[in-house]
């Protein structure tokens, strides 16, 4: 089928998309957007997390045809004209990036949390990241980064 979708505000078209393809496959293999990572393909690791019409999803579990006419936001769309997104800055500041494979999904999950919940408690942070695995086990710094991003988002003047 012919697929039209908006990714990070830009319209994309793909031809000959099979019914069995996932949104992740389309993003990576057809559109060349390699930010969302392909790992478990079962919704267990969260490394392919993207927003679909503003809702955080595992792109590996979204049938590509379902994304027809819809809007997708990937990690590539996080940084704005004025520089990295506050969660990206916080991940760098806290050393929350080790091998980097889980990072795009972690960033999307953290961004999603702060959209919903600007002042999250520990339980909310852990719940928001529960679906994202870091096999370097760098969770302590990742949690710290989310706390920092939340604090900076609430009080932007404290940003570097």
């Amino acid at each position: 089928m012919h697929l039209t979708l908006t990714v990070n505000g830009e319209r994309h078209d793909a031809e000959g998309v099979a019914g069995t393809e996932s949104l992740l496959y389309v993003l990576r293999q057809r559109l060349g957007l390699y930010g969302a990572k392909n790992a478990c393909e079962q919704g267990q690791c969260g490394s392919c997390s993207v927003h679909l019409d503003g809702v955080l999803v595992c792109a590996c579990l979204v049938p590509a045809p379902q994304a027809h006419g819809r809007s997708v936001e990937t990690v590539e769309g996080l940084a704005g004209e004025d520089g990295p997104h506050p969660v990206q800055e916080a991940f760098l500041a806290c050393g929350a990036v080790q091998c980097g494979f889980c990072t795009p999904g972690m960033l999307k999950a953290a961004e999603d949390l702060l959209r919903r919940c600007p002042d999250p408690g520990e339980a909310e942070i852990k719940d928001a990241l529960a679906g994202n695995l870091c096999r370097c086990t760098g969770y302590r710094h990742i949690l710290e980064a989310v706390r920092l991003a939340a604090a900076r988002t609430r009080a932007p003047e404290s940003r570097p």
């Binding site: 019914g19 069995t20 393809e21 293999q29 809702v55 590996c60 979204v62 928001a128 679906g131």
Partner: protein, 307 residues
């Protein structure tokens, strides 16, 4: 199969916007698979366990994505995702909302649906025990007409239900809570885990009834009828519904034993049969104790921030 190396085989994917179009598609070709959140179907497609000729997307059919209040309770459209159940239905359906919160991760709860859980009918599905404890009804619809099936009669085996190949799950009707409800789940970690076993309990004071549901401890989700009858009898004889007095420990213990006796657990990677039987007794005792304490304190359920 890896999506990186292999182009998936073709499968027709239909995107109807009206329910009747979806029903026509279901009737037109045997084995057509309905898809909403994709959290089960996409995994089965990816592993090659399933390669249907066609799939029908349900996410564009607006009437399936709504819930409404009816005389009998909440009529929950088949494609309302768990996040919305947890966020919007915690007051009328506290038990189902609690069960929805234990499903997978945020990403999964944003997509997964009760209609999908019923269609997949995994014995480990988190919402089945509470649907049983609430006496929910499943609405099935096809080009041949619609029917309602009590959830107790819905499951026929692991992954099997009374749904005919051309039928869609349109909605599930869940009576509004009239007392405390609780869902407890045993698993290897606290999040993103399939239940090793689970238990749901719901108090129905107007009928002097305690509903139960057991997950992942038999080929199908099932209630514990003897435990229900036992505790109803004890609560009646001790006049505890009226006095809101404490539930004796021996009643809680016996309730747990009868719940465990209702299981027929398998040995598998998640747990042994003996462990599951034991854990169901513990979960049943604990959840009944908790809802009874809440009933005594006139509590219903706790709010959930930031959902």
């Amino acid at each position: 199969m890896s999506a990186e190396t292999e182009t998936p085989r073709p499968m027709d994917f239909l995107l109807p916007e009206r329910l009747d179009e979806a029903l026509e598609a279901m009737a037109a070709r045997a084995g057509t698979v309905p898809v909403a959140g994709g959290t089960d179907v996409m995994v089965r497609l990816g592993t090659g366990h399933e390669r249907p000729a066609a799939a029908v997307d349900l996410t564009r059919i607006v009437c399936l994505s709504r819930w409404e209040r009816t005389a009998g309770g909440i009529r929950l459209g088949a494609t309302v995702p768990y996040t919305r159940i947890a966020g919007e239905l915690a007051a009328p359906l506290p038990g189902l909302a609690a069960a929805a919160r234990t499903v997978g991760s945020r990403q999964i709860r944003n997509r997964g649906t009760v209609g999908g859980a019923l269609g997949t009918a995994s014995p480990t599905g988190d919402v089945h025990p509470m649907l049983l404890a609430c006496g929910a009804e499943v609405e099935l619809v096809s080009v041949r007409g619609a029917r309602r099936v009590p959830v107790r009669d819905f499951y026929t085996g692991p992954g099997r239900t009374v749904r005919a190949p051309d039928e869609l799950i349109r909605a599930v009707r869940v009576p509004e809570a009239e007392g405390p409800q609780a869902y407890a789940k045993a698993g290897r970690r606290g999040a993103v885990v399939m239940a090793t076993c689970s238990f749901a309990v719901a108090l129905w004071p107007s009928r002097a009834w305690v509903g139960t549901g057991i997950g992942s401890a038999a080929p199908v989700p099932r209630p514990a009828p003897e435990a229900e009858q036992f505790v109803a009898r004890e609560l009646g004889e001790l006049r505890l519904w009226q006095t809101r007095g404490p539930l004796p420990d021996d009643v809680l213990a016996r309730f747990g034993e009868l719940a465990a006796a209702a299981t027929a657990p398998a040995d598998d990677v998640r747990g042994s049969s003996a462990y599951r039987r034991h854990a169901v007794a513990v979960l049943a005792r604990r959840t009944l104790g908790r809802v009874w304490d809440d009933y005594r304190a006139h509590r219903r359920t706790e709010g959930e921030p930031c959902t």
